[in-house]
């Protein structure tokens, strides 16, 4: 185990050396920077975020403007990715879809990380019957067929709620048990450490112990889990929307842009309608996974010495 920075300095000083200590952030950056895959993933991801955020300015046409005289046109100079079934510009919709798909992924993970961290922390710190109940509920959710659960939940949410909010909530709500298990495991091992004992001996309350002392020590695995979680959430959103149960048109998402490929005519004859959104999902998920892997390699304490 690495010694705290201050100890290293003091020991060094006692022996008459001036000790240069690398901060945690520096160590992280030094390792992350060496990982070419992670950097490539970062670059692609930043590009995707840029074109999604900038969609209103760079999109060539209006998102929902349907020109019924120009239905299912193949790619041309005016419509680089052609037009869809009701004559909307496909490239424009692809750019706007990125906003929705990326946003749903990030917010869904924010939901699952919040619920999972809170419940996992309480379960791990308090223990006993509280722990038992929380983790049994997690077991129950994990034993459901995921997609069936998502479909059921998606149909329960009232249609008055915008479909992309509903999708975020539903994905976030079914994904917390994994996070809770992770945080609980971290807390169980942290609970035995001296600094926790010291904190408690000094009279710190449960809230303070959990949020000020223990959670900051579990941040590294949470960051990794959140990053990989966004990739998973984007995949889940695309699958749900593809089935017609996630984000609803006219709001475009990468997933619902593929729904029409279920008809033979579009699948066989109009590939410009469904291949681009499919590639976008793949590229986005791959880039985020690369970043997540890079973060894990850079943050994982087991790899400290390489």
């Amino acid at each position: 185990m690495a010694l705290p920075e201050q100890d290293v300095r003091e020991i060094g000083a006692l022996q008459g050396h001036r000790v240069e200590v690398e901060t945690w952030g520096r160590i992280f950056w030094r390792r992350f920077r060496r990982n070419r895959q992670a950097l490539a993933g970062c670059a692609v991801l930043l590009f995707l975020i840029a074109i999604s955020v900038g969609a209103p300015w760079i999109a060539p046409h209006d998102r929902d403007y349907a020109d019924l005289t120009k239905i299912e046109l193949p790619p041309s100079r005016e419509h680089p990715l052609g037009t869809d079934q009701i004559g909307r510009d496909n490239l424009t919709r692809l750019l706007y879809a990125g906003r929705i798909s990326l946003l749903v992924g990030v917010v869904a993970v924010a939901v699952s990380i919040s619920i999972g961290t809170l419940l996992g922390a309480v379960a791990g710190y308090v223990g006993g019957w509280v722990d038992n109940i929380i983790m049994r509920v997690a077991d129950i959710i994990l034993s459901f067929p995921l997609l069936v659960l998502l479909i059921v939940l998606a149909s329960i949410i009232p249609p008055a709620i915008p479909s992309h909010y509903a999708t975020m909530a539903v994905i976030g709500f079914v994904s917390w048990p994994g996070v809770a298990r992770l945080v609980r495991g971290e807390f169980l091992s942290l609970r035995e450490r001296e600094f926790v004992e010291a904190g408690r001996a000094m009279g710190a309350g449960t809230n303070r112990m959990i949020f000020r002392h223990m959670l900051p020590n579990s941040v590294a695995p949470l960051i990794v889990s959140a990053t990989l979680g966004v990739a998973g959430a984007i995949l889940t959103e695309s699958a749900l929307s593809f089935l017609g149960l996630g984000v609803q048109p006219p709001l475009p998402s990468w997933g619902n842009m593929l729904t029409d490929a279920l008809t033979w005519r579009v699948l066989a004859m109009k590939p410009w309608l469904w291949v681009p959104p499919g590639i976008m999902i793949f590229v986005a998920v791959m880039a985020i996974n690369m970043v997540g892997d890079g973060l894990r390699d850079a943050l994982d304490p087991r790899l400290k010495n390489d």
Binding site: F144, S155, S238, F242, L267, F282, M286, N289, D293
Partner: protein
Amino acid sequence: MATYVVRRVLQSIPILLGITVLTFLLAKAMPGDPFTMLLNPGITEADLERLRGIAGLKAPPHVQYWRWLVSLLQGNLGMSISFNQPVATIIADRLAPTVAIGIGSLLIGLILGVLFGVISAVRKYTLIDTVFTVGALAGISAPTFFMGLLAIKYLSIGLGWFPSSNLVTPGLNAPFPYNYLDVAHHLVLPTMVLGVASIGSMARYVRSGMLDVLSQDYVRTARAKGLSERVIVYRHALRNALIPVVTLLGLSLPGVVGGAIITEQVFSIPGLGRMSYLAVLRRDYPLIMATTVLFAVMTVLGNLLADLGYAWVDPRIRYD
């Protein structure tokens, strides 16, 4: 060991009960019921009420749940409302294609995943390792429905190598071995598509397991003894690297029967995945309940098998 198994099974009973209660509540919370979903414009409200009475949907919810639970314990899964057939029959009819695809893709994943993972680990940080690692990541990053659609477009419609959907060629009345070959021919694409994701996750697992094992002392000892690299990798290291794979296999069990909803939907395969999707859309309560129970039992069983398998391949671990 026997007591361990008994204890685990007993522990799983409250979880299974919890799942049935939650499924029941969620299913009832969905708007509509099986009869409103029939969408028959000629039907009157009085008819609907009568049908609900026949199906026992007018009883209070807790009574309905209790009736369902009692008949389940008597081994009766009930009647499907939308298919108008016993639930058990419907599931039995759809089990084979789903299990075939599930096991097939798992085998593809196991064989190719282990192979790629081992090669990656042995040749770590070389070009081939990079290719396999990036390939494995691509495998788990690609949406299955997109891969399925691409496969249909290019391998089925384009090249004509495989049928694009369904389980049998319509109008084909082939004698014995050929009808089975026809079904197998239909199952190739969905199995391959699911297999790709499986290869990806397996290869990543095996690679990191192998890297762990290859840096252990006993591998260094084996090298010092002058054993050939082949013996070291395949006889000494691989065996230990595969231990976590046993867990992964156990955890994949529910997926095999849970059915790949999306894949079956894309390829129009009449399997359990597509059935469970239809069950939800049609609010077919008995069928929804049966699907979730089946999946949950497989999850519990898979977890148990994973733990037992782990103890079996790794004698250092004991359960008592």
